[in-house]
Amino acid sequence: MSRSVVTRPAVAIRNVSKVWTPEGRSPVNALQGLDFDVAPGEFVVLLGPSGCGKSTLLYMIAGLEATTSGLIECDGLKVEEPSAERGLIFQEASLFPWLTIADNVAFGLSIQGVLPVRRREIAIEMLRRVGLSDMLDKKPDELSGGMRQRAACARALAMKPKVLMMDEPFAALDVQTRARMQDFLLQIWRDSGASVLLVTHSIDEAIALADRVIVFTARPGRVKTIVPIDLPRPRPTRDARYHEYRDLFTELLAAEVERAFAEMEAA
């Protein structure tokens, strides 16, 4: 992409590894020697077989998990603890059921001490941006799955994050909702100017969204290859090049899934 003249990466991952040490069992290498950058405003998709540690990487960038070795920097600063500048969206919206949608969106602002009137204004603006203007005073369980996920986006965006991370955000949604949410996400991404890091195991989702796709190996997760998607958005699924990407990713993943299965049987 032509987003060069970059001074500093939004996220810099330097030789990062993660080892899990479950109680009473031998340590597991979850991630090994990761090393890549995310440019400001870039849309990066992390694609890999399940269990390869790509979600763990998001949690480490968010500051919720420590790295075992290596360094993660955001905007040149070492990540040591969570920050609202690095928003994280989960597979379930995880809205608080005891707050209205508007109060959920304003939750972070209220923690930061923003006054109620201003909070409400921002919540209204954020919910307008995600198309939930008439849901302000509804309870979370009155919303559909897709709406809840959009409200969760609004909650993260209200903090004006520089990096927006999403851990399989659409996996729990049905196919139609999913396609619409992808369009919605691209729009949000353009509006906010944040870098997006999205974890998925769906090849189509990766091709539909990413500037660059980072393909992970099976455990221990390593960067297998990085593929820039050189297609104009919205991306036509009928394009021959779309299918070339599709075939490429299918092949890359198939090898990893096979390796993962072989290892599981050996264990």
Partner: protein, 298 residues
């Protein structure tokens, strides 16, 4: 043109008239109707047993007998909250005062148990040294019946309100303490992640996220122990306080006044029912995000 084509003239959509929704009201009325039928059946069988002289009116006076002479019954109630007071012919006001004292002991004990139970439960969950020091003792004391605490309560607090309140407190305290830890452990991890990302420290996370998340099930624990609390308060009043409905029951038994026994039982039943209704209403108002539960009359 197929039949699927849009017809040339479209009927204007019928304005849906705002019709009052009678369904909830009807459901409530049906509930009340069944309640009357249920109590009526019970009372009817009792009355029949009396009518056919199968139930001795001296031992088991049917409702029309023990509800007949209410002024006479009410003279056993006293306006003051005195110990072993001689009935001063209190009337209806005295009945309300007696009911009030008993209710106060239940409400105060439950509130105290709820607040302290949650606090101790949270400390046990979060502070390792407190967990190690307290948990074994609490697990040992939890199964001890509140009634077994009665002598201890009287030894320590003497005769008065405190033993009764203490017994109610004991009834909920251990249940709340033990369930708090389990509830905190089962708060979805992502709730806590969200709070941390938004910059909440541990204290804010507890008050703003963990407490609201566990409150509904703690409240449920209180509701489940409500009837237990009503049982122990009467025992405490009979033995250690000397006032309230429990004392009236004891006195009625001692003086072989079966009408007074059944009258007081009816009052106790009514109070228990009302307090459960009160807690349910509170739950609906305070914990509005929890779906309203069924299973109550009103």
């Amino acid at each position: 043109m197929t039949t699927l084509d849009t017809p040339t003239e479209i009927m204007p959509p019928v304005e849906p008239r705002a019709r009052p929704n009678f369904a909830p009201l009807l459901r409530q009325l049906a509930g009340i109707g069944w309640a009357i039928a249920s109590i009526g059946l019970f009372a009817g069988i009792w009355e029949l047993l009396w009518y056919f002289e199968l139930a001795n009116p001296l031992l088991l006076p049917p409702p029309h007998l023990f509800l007949a002479d209410i002024p006479g019954t009410l003279k056993y109630f006293d306006r003051s909250d005195r110990i072993g007071s001689v009935a001063s012919g209190g009337g209806f006001g005295a009945l309300l005062i007696t009911m009030g004292w008993t209710t106060f002991r239940v409400v105060f004990g439950l509130t105290l148990g709820f607040v302290l139970g949650t606090a101790v439960g949270a400390l046990i969950h979060y502070v390792r040294i407190i967990r190690n020091l307290l948990l074994p003792t609490i697990l040992l004391l939890a199964p001890v019946s509140p009634v077994a605490w009665l002598p201890v309560a009287i030894f320590v607090f003497g005769i008065g309100d405190v033993p009764a309140i203490f017994l109610v407190f004991i009834t909920v305290f251990f249940a709340i303490t033990l369930s708090t830890g389990a509830q905190i452990a089962s708060v979805p991890k992502n709730y806590i992640h969200v709070a941390r990302i938004m910059g909440a420290n541990e204290r804010k996370t507890f008050w703003r996220v963990i407490l609201p998340a566990i409150l509904p099930s703690l409240f449920m624990t209180v509701r489940l122990n409500l009837f237990g609390a009503w049982m122990v308060v009467l025992i405490a009043e009979a033995v250690g306080v000397g006032s309230g409905l429990g004392q009236i029951t004891t006195m009625a038994r001692a003086t072989f006044n079966s009408k007074l026994v059944f009258f007081t039982m009816a009052i106790i039943g009514l109070l228990g029912f009302l307090s459960d209704w009160g807690l349910r209403t509170m739950q609906r108002k305070l914990l509005w995000w929890v779906a309203p539960n069924q299973g109550g009359l009103l």
